[in-house]
């Protein structure tokens, strides 16, 4: 197999896997196009995340362990943009919350300028402490009042400030394009968080960025879970608007029914497939745009400089490159892509469920994708995204199948058999760890190596 053929062949194999999933029910395949497309859609989103992480790791050697946080911020953006504003929430406390947040930001800014202006010493410490304490209590006082106001509004179904959808609570689903607007906003939110983390941890030892990103992810999640006024916390926001048609509308449309019947397809199945296909097309479009941009940037002087910095930081610094600044740039960009993907994912799910964000799923899985696919190579990370997601879904059936085989001889009802069968779910973590270590050790350049 020549080098040039490697990429197309691997992608063809990937396509074959999805086709098998859609057509045969042999072994672990389900034989349903619905499942196949559902896996494909999430796989596309995963590929976008992997692309973002590859930007950070493959181009610049930055280790981001907080992907989950940036993904969750994207999800948050979907609610804050594409949902309608809760009636009365802004006047009932929303403005007060915003004011309190400004107060908080002002306090931090004042503290920073105080820190810079006053001479080091005990006086500075006292002044800083006093300022922060007063600022904090002021912030909490205003903030708590606002939160109380917002959360009191119909807590069973809303209790949050809602978003910017102009359609209002009854007609917001007609403004599906708002979901599309939310995607880049998700990227912006993630970029903001990444800037704060990068500003502090970049330029220090490489481990520190990893630890700081681990921290920011935990905190973003804590905020999304606990600040009910923002996006209802663990009470979840459901019924997010879609940029694509609803199945019910398709089933009611005479035109669609006629078309489906002309193909000899079941109308319900056809509608679900049509919806998934439209998502798939949208996601593919985004992925392609990003992939083209990533490829262009990789070949540009900027990309060459990035890789030069990655390969020899000292030399690049000696040549007058501001390494920390470049790193910050690429870290923010990569995180923004993760945020964008996070917003897309929440739109696809149609709901924001903070309880479902697990670091294993949203941080470490993406890492496996990048490493397996080939760090430094954009096509590699896209392939990794598709492949690993497919396996992530299939590890459980494969694990079950394995366990069935292992426990075949055991008598039914034995506690060991029951335990083994129940534990198949944990095979995921285990096998992903093994995959990561094996690839890292024996094929550190991945399936499609960097050129």
């Amino acid at each position: 197999m020549t080098k040039d053929m490697r990429t197309p062949i691997l992608f063809a194999v990937m396509a074959l896997l999805f086709i098998l999933e859609g057509t045969t029910s042999f072994w672990v395949f389900s034989g349903s196009w619905n499942t196949s497309l559902a896996i494909l859609n999430m796989a596309l989103i995963s590929a976008i995340m992997a692309l973002g992480v590859n930007l950070q790791w493959g181009y610049a050697g930055l280790f981001n362990v907080g992907i989950m946080g940036f993904v969750a911020l994207g999800g948050l953006a979907t609610v804050l943009i594409s949902m309608p504003a809760t009636p009365g929430a802004w006047t009932g406390g929303g403005f007060q919350i915003v004011f309190s947040l400004l107060l908080g930001a002002g306090t931090v800014a004042a503290a920073i300028s105080l820190f810079k202006r006053m001479a080091p010493g005990r006086n500075r410490g006292i002044a800083l402490f006093a300022l922060l304490a007063i600022g904090f209590f002021l912030f909490r006082y205003v903030f708590d009042g606002g939160v109380e106001g917002v959360e009191a509004i119909n807590p069973a179904s809303t209790g949050n400030i809602g978003g910017l959808n102009p359609g209002g609570p009854d007609g917001y689903k007609d403004h599906g394009y708002m979901a599309l607007i939310a995607w880049p906003v998700g990227g912006l939110l993630a970029a903001g968080a990444a800037w704060i983390v990068g500003k502090t941890a970049l330029g220090l030892r490489s481990d520190y960025l990893a630890i700081a990103t681990l921290g920011i992810a935990e905190i973003v999640l804590a905020v999304v879970k606990n600040e009910d006024w923002l996006a209802r916390g663990v009470k979840n926001v459901i019924g997010l608007p879609r940029p694509v048609p609803y199945e019910v509308d398709l089933q009611n449309s005479a035109e669609f029914v006629a078309k489906a019947e002309s193909w000899g397809a079941d109308v319900t199945t056809a509608s679900t497939i049509a919806v998934k296909l439209s998502y798939g097309l949208l996601f593919t479009a985004v992925l392609l745009v990003l992939l083209v941009l990533a490829q262009l940037s990789l070949k540009s002087p900027w990309g060459r400089m990035m890789r030069a910095i990655r390969d020899n930081e000292v030399a690049a610094q000696a040549m007058g490159k501001n390494v920390t600044k470049r790193h910050l740039q690429i870290f923010v960009l990569g995180s923004a892509i993760c945020g964008l993907a996070g917003a897309m994912m929440t739109t696809l799910d149609g709901q924001l469920t903070p309880g479902s964000y697990q670091p294993l799923r949203f941080t470490f899985l993406i890492w496996v994708m990048v490493i397996v696919g080939g760090s430094g190579n954009n096509f590699g990370s896209v392939l990794g995204g598709l492949l690993i997601w497919f396996f992530w879904i299939k590890v459980e059936p494969i694990g079950n199948w394995l366990m069935q085989v292992v426990t075949f001889g055991m008598e039914d009802g034995s506690s060991l058999k029951a335990h083994l069968l129940n534990s198949a779910a944990h095979m995921r973590l285990f096998s992903m760890g093994i995959v990561l270590l094996l690839v890292l050790r024996f094929s550190p350049r991945g399936l499609i190596p960097e050129k």
Binding site: Y208, I211, L214, I219, P359, L429
Partner: protein, 336 residues
């Protein structure tokens, strides 16, 4: 009287829990710092290795309990601890052999070690959940309290009770013993000194004939002991649940960095800084305030600075501030 009540309430809800939690963090952070000092990477598998060590200890504890072996009023887990340490030591040595040693030989960048430790974390995570399940496990037995709140009230006649849990007492005593032993080992024994030398200046240590593989092995054994002890103490004090151990990673890293990575003294100080900040900031101070302030000034709310859901934010903010102002930590750590 009110003043005494306030002090008792403060001790009961802030000081004692923070000291116990701080000790647990300190032991955990000592492990992180030792690995950083000798092997020069941040071990992300630390939290899950703690869960592993605790798990082995729990299995042995259950076995002892089923056989009726007990050292009541002390928890049986203490008796099982050496077995847990042994199991964990074997596990980390095997991991080192299969994973990290290769990267040492090829002199890989530290970040590659970090990533490998991430893979180990995954596997550890899977193994622990596979063997003991993801749920909460109870394994504490023996006397629950050294001092019960009610007894304390009767004894002193105060309105506030002071409860001192056995697990807290054990935690603090163990922590003191461990720290004393570790410092004796590092400062007085030949092996300990060679570890410090290796951590200080690897090339010169090699020139002096110090065997790196031996240093690494001893380090892993010590780390395994620290990990298991921290994991078991935390499990006894709070409860054992695999996921909480993953979450401990952040406060433990924060402790080690705040104190200065690679500096054992710093790890201990850092553990207590983080624990006290976390507990004081998330504690509802109303209970103390009612005794100290005149009625008119009594807080109407709970007087809690941050909800406990944000306790990780405390570690994080301290971490960020330290990284911004003094990246080498309070005590001079190894490098930036």
């Amino acid at each position: 009287m009110d003043f005494l009540n306030a002090i008792v309430a403060l001790s009961n809800f802030v000081l004692i829990p923070a000291i116990a939690y701080g000790s647990q963090l300190a032991i955990g952070a000592l492990g992180v710092t030792m690995i950083y000092g000798i092997l020069r990477f941040s071990n992300f598998a630390h939290g899950d290795s703690m869960a592993f060590g605790a798990m082995i200890t729990i299995f042995v504890t259950w076995w002892f309990q089923s056989m009726g072996v007990s050292i009541s009023p002390l928890p049986t887990a203490l008796l099982a601890l050496p077995f847990g340490i042994l199991g964990t030591a074997l596990m980390v040595l095997a991991t080192d052999r299969m994973v990290y040693r290769f990267y040492r030989q090829v002199k890989a960048k530290p970040i590659v070690f970090v990533m490998a430790s991430l893979g180990v974390m995954f596997i550890m995570n899977g193994v622990v959940r596979f063997l003991i399940g993801p749920g909460e496990q109870r394994f504490a037995d023996g006397a629950r309290f050294i001092i019960k709140a009610r007894d304390f009230k009767e004894m002193t006649g105060l309105r506030e009770g002071l409860a001192f849990k056995t697990s807290q007492g054990i935690t603090v005593i163990t922590a003191i013993l461990i720290v004393a032993f570790l410092f004796w080992f590092l400062n007085k024994t030949r092996t300990g000194k060679s570890m410090r030398a290796f951590s200080d200046n690897e090339d010169l240590a090699l020139l002096s004939g110090i065997n790196p593989e031996r240093v690494v092995m001893v380090t892993w054994i010590i780390v395994a002991s620290l990990i298991t002890i921290a994991g078991v103490l935390y499990g006894l004090d709070k409860s054992f649940k695999p996921f909480t151990y993953f979450q401990l990673l952040l406060p433990i890293f924060a402790s080690a960095i705040v104190g200065g990575l690679g500096n054992p003294l710093g790890a201990i100080a850092g553990g207590f800084v983080i624990a006290f900040s976390e507990v004081t900031i998330t504690y509802a101070w109303k209970k103390v305030a009612v005794y100290l302030l005149p009625e008119a000034l009594e807080p109407s709310g709970l007087a809690q600075l941050l909800s406990t859901d944000y306790k990780f934010a405390v570690s994080f903010v301290i971490l960020i501030v330290v990284l911004l102002i003094k990246p080498t930590g309070l005590f001079k750590g190894q490098s930036v």
